[in-house]
Symmetry: C2
Subunit: 151 residues, 2 copies
Amino acid sequence: MVDILHKIATKAPLEALYQAVATRAGVAGWWTAETTGDSQVGGSLLFRFTTKGVEVGTIEVKVLELAPNKRVLWQVTGGPQEWLGTTISFELKQEGEFCVLLFRHQGWKEPVEFMHHCSTKWAMFLMSLKELVETGKGRPSPDDVKIDDWN
Amino acid sequence: MVDILHKIATKAPLEALYQAVATRAGVAGWWTAETTGDSQVGGSLLFRFTTKGVEVGTIEVKVLELAPNKRVLWQVTGGPQEWLGTTISFELKQEGEFCVLLFRHQGWKEPVEFMHHCSTKWAMFLMSLKELVETGKGRPSPDDVKIDDWN
């Protein structure tokens, strides 16, 4: 088992950071604009990614945990083979004047090339999240930062 | 043992990407402007990081392997406790019109918060490397992208 780990921090309010990871509208502002579904515990969220109008992938997660201003936990129930069964968590905490977000995409079976790609993409999306809570505008798909031949 | 993995790709020439990770001047263009030492196999490179003119850290690596246009391998011999003994590798390959770089910072003992931070920072530095080979100008420290309360 191998994990993708990241950290960002912001001086934006903890509540804003939490809303950005815990709600459908929040996630649509930094990961993919095409986010649908129910973000309550037990609900499922569907994320659709397109490039030049063409669908390049979808991901479905089940919301396992919502601890206000503390933690959001998803289980991946649909999407690329390598993502199935993995978990994605956002852990939040206040540290002085900063709100810290620790991100973990855990349970990958193998450190395949696709995992290297996803690790770098997650960093870009988390910077998009930081931008969203700091400026009101993130860079969700399809306007996300391109990193490689897989986009 | 836990690893940081990343991937970027560029349409810039493979040789340019290799020079950027295999030479002192190259690394100074995307990681830290304050890069000194000898980048030949067996040599040591010293990287100094400053914030507002104040030194915030140094890292020393020994160059273990240089395979032209294919691979560069470093062993960390000085720096933060958590980095000691870890290895950093850059694996390059041509895929159609893209040059792909697979990055691995391997051998971390524990998935500590500092590792989350370094994972996101490496992504920013690799995007700086991509920018360097594509435009001639990267974003090395001290002008690097800030991600959190640790910079």
